[in-house]
Structure formats: C-alpha cells, structure tokens
Amino acid sequence: MNKQKGRMGFIIACLSPAVILFTIFMVIPTINVFRMSLYKWGGFSNNKTFVGLSNFKILFKDDNFYRSFQNTILLIVIVTIVTLALALIFAGIITRIKVKGQDFFRVIFYIPNILSIVVIAAIFSAIYDPTNGMLNSILGIFREKDADILLWLGDQKIVIFSIAIALIWQAIGYYMVMYMASMASIPESLYESAGLEGAGEVQQFFSITLPLIWTNIRTTLTFFIISTINLSFLLVSTLTNGGPDGATEVFLSYMYRQAYTNSSYGYGMAIGVVVFLFSFALAATVNFVTKREPIEF
C-alpha cells in the first residue's frame, strides 16, 4: 500500500511540472485561438463582437485562402516526396556502399538544418538573383545566349518550386541522418545472406532496408507535415513576402496578413484553427494509410 502511494507520488512529482507548463503555455493559448475565431476583433480596441461561425463562412468563400491552401499542400507534397527520396537514397549509399569520406558528407549535409532562416533567405536570394545569381550563371553556360532568363522568384509558375528547393535543401541532411541512424541498427547478416542469394544493392535496399525502417519513415512523415507548414511560413515571409501577387502565400503567412495587416484578428485565428485541424487530420490519414505490420529483426 505504502509502496503504491510512493509510486503514485513519484509519478505525480515527475509529471506535474511538464503538465502544468504545457497546459499554461500551449493548451490554454490554443483554446483561446479557437475561442477568438468566433469573434470579430481588430486587435487593439475593446470591441470584440461575437460572430459565431461567420469567420469560417467567409473563409470558405475566400479565394485567397484557397490559394494559400493549395500552395501549402503543394509544398508539403513536393518537399516530402523529394526530401524523403533523396534522404533515403543518400542515407542508403553512405551506410551501405563504402564511399570515401562518409563522415565528411554526413557532417556537411546536416549543416543547412542548423542555419537560421534569416541566413537561408539571404543565401537563396543571392542564388536566385535573375542576372548575377548562382543558378542563372550556371544555367547560362548550357543555354543559348539570347534565351529568356529564368526568374526564380518572379515567375509565378516557378516561384513555388523555388521555395520548395530551398526547403528541401534545408531538410535533406536532417532526415538523412535520421534514416542513417536507423539503418545502422539493421544487422549486417541480413545483407550478407541476401548477397549470397544474388540480390544486388538496389534490390537489397527495397527488400531489406526499406521494410525494416518503415516505422521510422512513417514517423518522419508527420514531421514533414508539421515542419513544412512552419518553415514555409518563415521562409516565405523573409524571402518573397507571399509574392509575386500571392503566388507563394502559404497558410500561416495568410493568417498573419489577415490578423495583423488587415486588422481582422478573429479571422486570422479562424485560419489558425483550420491549419491546426488540417495538419492533424492529414497526419492521421497518412498514418492510417501507411500502416503495415511492423517487421522485427
């Protein structure tokens, strides 16, 4: 009995600081976001008017919101697929094939992930510069002299991909290290026996590596969703400010524009609610779709 009491006391002592902080600084503010989405409020005065679901009704007719929705989904899809594929391939190569300078590549690839978004924005605006930019200078070597130059941040059909490239550049190393870590724990014997049966490296990658780190890949899919929504906002607000003409507007940048620039705080919070529910639902769906029986080794 006493022991039981001690155990409970220990659990409460360990858990309560985290629960208290989490409740005060995350749960309550989130509830407030939900609550404020039902009001019309400019952000400064004391005139808050309860408007029910009116903000959401307007939202579902707002073309600009749909545009930011589309851009966000496009970014999530592109960034996830390309980063996932590249990170897996590079991780596979570095762990499985004896490449010289493994450690060097591992260390270097991770670096973009540690940079402040301000630094990344500065770097990419120099890379995408239409006349002197790194990208156009390199392309200039291969293209005809009088060909139209590519406007990485100016062409509305390209610009969202330019943002995606920067996000992928930033993320590859992080996920690569993550996959490398779990690949390293796959026993060597599995590969040896597969090798004896005549399976090539590529085949081994699909039949052994991928299935065995599947649970890890599934977890990272959730991270992809969360971090793309967040980072695309930070990058867009420093690099393009949602432009040209809203072509790179994403969920959160549109939320900020409405809540502050357009003095519609309640409306902005309604966008916040949709973003929260959407990312939650998307992660749940992805989690459900990718469910496989875990393979043990």
Binding site: N55, D129, D155, Q156, T261, G266
Partner: protein
C-alpha cells in the same frame, strides 16, 4: 553611486533647461548633449519632482535619421520646463510599440505614416482608436502668434490622408512631405537626345526608342510603390472628384470610363517593364530594381525623394545625374500630376497625457522645430520652408513649380472586412500584369468587387 550621479545629472539638466529658457543661444549649442542625457536619465529620474510630467513620444526613424528627433525633443523640453519627453525611435517602430499598446500602455504621440506594411496606423484608425486633432489646428503655435491651421500649407489638412473617415474631422497632422514621381537618369536622356515625355503617348514613343537600344522604359521597386503612382494617375485622368470618389469606394467608379484608362495605362506600362523587375520586387531585393536606373538598364522608376539617399553608396553609370518628373499628362496640353506623400503624427485615444501631446504636435509647427527637421532634409508643409532648399532637394520640391498638380490622400478607413484588402488587390496584382498571369480586365473586376465590399463596411 550610480543613483547619486543620476540625480546630479538630472539636477544639472533642470538647471541647464531653465538657463536655456533665459538664454536660447547657449541652449542650442548644447541641445544634442542634453538630448542624450535626458534619454538616459528619464528612466531613473526620481518621481519626487513636483511639476514633472512625462510625455511618451514614439517616432518612426526614416531616411532622415534619428538625431533630428532628439534635437527637436530637447528643444521642446527646453521651452516647456518640467516636461520630460520619453522618446522611442526605431526603423520598425510598430514592432516596438504595438506589443505594449496591446497591453494598454500607449505612447502619447505617435509619428508613423499610413501605408506601411504592418499598417499599425490603419489598424488604429479602423478600430476608432484616434483622438480628433481639430482643436490642435485651432491652437496657437507655441511661442508664436499664428494658429497652427494657418501655418500649414493649404490643402494639406482636408484630404483623406488627414481626415481618414471623410467626415471633415482631422485625426492625423501632416508632417514631412515628399513629392512622388518618376526618377530617371538625366545624364542618359541628355546623352541620347531624348526628352522627358509630357504625355503618355510620348512615353510610349520613348519606350519604343529605348527598346531599340536594349533599355527598358520602366521598373518599380515593389508593387507597394504603385500607391503614389496610381493615385496620381487617377487624379490626372479624372481630377480631384474622381480621385475622392475612388478613394471612398463609390459604386461603379473603378469600372467607369475614366478609371478604365488608368488600368489601360498601367497595363501598357507593364509591357515596357524591365524583365527582372518582378523577381526582385520584394522587401529583400527591391534595391536591385532601383539599381537598374543607375546602371542605365531602365529609364523610369516611381519613387519618393528619399531614393537618392537610399542609393547613395551604390555604383552608377558614367555621367549619372538624378532627374525627377511628375507623371505625364493623359492628353496633350493637360498637366502632369504628382502624388504628395506625407508622414503623419497623431494621438491615440488611449493616450494618458493628451493635453501635453496636443501641445507637442502644435510645437512641431514652430519655426524652431521646422528648422531642425529641415536641416536633415525632412520638409514639413509649412509655408516658406521649402524655399531654402539646396541641391537635389530643390529640384524635387520644385516639381509643382513646373506646372504639375498635386494629389494627396488615400483610401478611406472602413471597419475591417475579412479577407478583403484593397491595397493587395489593387497594387500587388501589378506583378501579375507584368508577368502576364492576369489580364487587365480581370484585375479591374477584382478591384471593383473589393471596392463594393469595402463600401458596405463604411459608416
């Protein structure tokens, strides 16, 4: 020790201030010094002093620099014994003050223009958080015998830029103004033997000539700069009445015959716009577009008088010389138009020290203050101030002497409409017109729709 020192400094300051009243010349020499001291001591000055009042002033630090503000504040303190001014000045003043404003801690006086990206002034306006300044206009300028309203140049206090609700009540006082127009390289035009176009038709001719030489006719820093451009264009097409009708969202005005010309002219100008402009038209890269003028890659850029200062350190083509002109006339024989942009100073309704705040605003129009501002190139709409200008500034401010007409104002304030933002709809779309992603007709329709929704939100 530190405390004793600060008390001593503040005593010394009070002495210096009262001495300054008696002897103004001595005062002026040491104003800068005192300004710094006041800022340092303001926070630590003990509250025992009987008549002590504190006035909180927040000012936007623009291209004119911050030092003129501390000088003016010191001079104000000198002429108002017992008043300590707590000056907050920053290039992003809205980021600095808006959090404490949300916390209910308002500055007494705010110098911050409309049309900034964070739109703090607009938000306060939409929220009805401003104090009417009608009685300030009736006040006598401190230490002088004229009324404030008589000292301000005519026309500056009766547009939507000072009376945001369009009801004849002034809420913002006009401060530093600057004509906006088209900047160009006068050296280039001279060398090529081209003249500055007086009508839009001549503009297009010049565009063709320049194109043949591989020079683009037009560029713009960001679409935000289309406000002054479009306002002037509207006025030049339809005069002041059309301008006011458009700014107050009159039904059908944006699709009317007159404003259709505005859309057509911008649509045509878009075809003459330098190709890389859109790619650099953001806050990170806009100077690259301005650089196009210095490099003779584009001829005209819409901008304000701060441009030469902003680009002072940039390399430039041989023989480069700044030129500045109003927008060309729509028809031959018509007059050019230039939008007069000015910064505003205002009092939040929630300010604590409102009487002193009004006194401070009235003080802005004294000869003493105007002189200090003008020294840094900040020109107020006070009769006679622009007469003493020199150099480039003289050319900029003489734009109206050459027959160009002035327009002032901006969109009327409405209660916020969720998801509808006139400036985004009207100006940001220019990027899409230049890149060909939207047609002019579609743009015009969207503007009229936004105008309809905002009209419903006007009271």
């Amino acid at each position: 020790m530190k405390k004793i020192l600060s008390v001593m400094v503040s005593v010394a300051m009070v002495v210096a201030v009262s001495a300054g009243c008696a002897n103004k010349e001595v005062m002026n020499n040491s104003t800068e010094n005192i300004a710094q001291q006041t800022q340092e001591t303001a926070k630590e000055t003990p509250k025992e002093e009987v008549k002590e009042q504190t006035l909180k002033v927040a000012a936007f630090e623009g291209g004119y620099g911050a030092s003129m503000w501390s000088e003016v504040v010191a001079a104000f303190e000198a002429s108002h014994p017992g008043v300590t001014v707590e000056l907050t000045i920053d290039k992003k003043i809205e980021d600095v003050i808006s959090p404490s404003m949300k916390a209910g801690d308002y500055p007494d006086v705010i110098h911050l223009a409309t049309g900034r990206q964070a739109a703090l002034t607009e938000t306060l306006t939409k929220e009805k958080g401003l104090l009417p300044l009608t009685d300030v206009l009736e006040m006598t300028v401190p230490g002088e015998s004229v009324k404030v309203k008589d000292k301000i140049v005519g026309g500056f206090t009766d547009t939507l830029a000072t009376n945001p609700y369009g009801d004849g009540i002034t809420y913002y006082a006009p401060m530093f103004y600057s004509p906006c127009g088209l900047f160009y390289n006068a050296g280039l035009l001279e060398a090529k033997g081209w003249s500055v176009p007086a009508t839009w038709d001549e503009m297009w001719e010049l565009g063709e000539k320049a194109k043949a030489e591989g020079i683009a006719l037009f560029t713009y820093p960001t679409t935000g700069y289309f406000d002054a451009f479009t306002y002037a264009l509207i006025a030049s097409v339809g005069g002041a009445d059309t301008f006011n009708a458009a700014m107050s969202y009159q039904d059908g005005i944006w699709e009317g015959e007159e404003l259709t010309q505005v859309f057509d002219i911008i649509g045509k100008l878009a075809q003459y716009t330098e190709k890389t402009t859109v790619a650099n038209a953001n806050d990170e890269n806009f100077t690259k577009n301005q650089q196009l003028i210095l490099d003779n890659k584009a001829i005209f850029v819409p901008n304000g008088t701060w441009l030469p200062g902003e680009m002072a350190e940039a390399p430039r083509a041989d023989g480069f010389k700044w030129g500045f002109t109003a927008l060309p006339a729509v028809k031959a024989g018509g007059s050019g138009y230039s939008f007069t942009w000015f910064e505003q100073i205002w009092i939040p309704a929630a300010a604590e020290n409102q009487d002193m705040a009004k006194e401070f605003i009235a003080y802005m129009y004294t000869d003493e203050a105007a002189k200090i501002f003008a020294k840094s190139g900040a020109i107020q709409p006070i009769a006679g101030v622009s007469a003493n200008l020199e150099g480039d500034n003289k050319m900029f401010y003489s734009i109206y002497d050459n027959g160009a007409k002035a327009t002032m104002g901006g969109f009327a304030a409405t209660t916020p409409v969720e998801g509808v933002d006139m400036k985004t709809t009207l100006f940001d779309t220019v990027n899409s017109i230049v890149s060909g992603d939207k047609t002019v007709a579609k743009w015009q329709k969207a503007v009229e729709e936004a105008s309809d929704k905002l009209r419903a939100a006007m009271e």
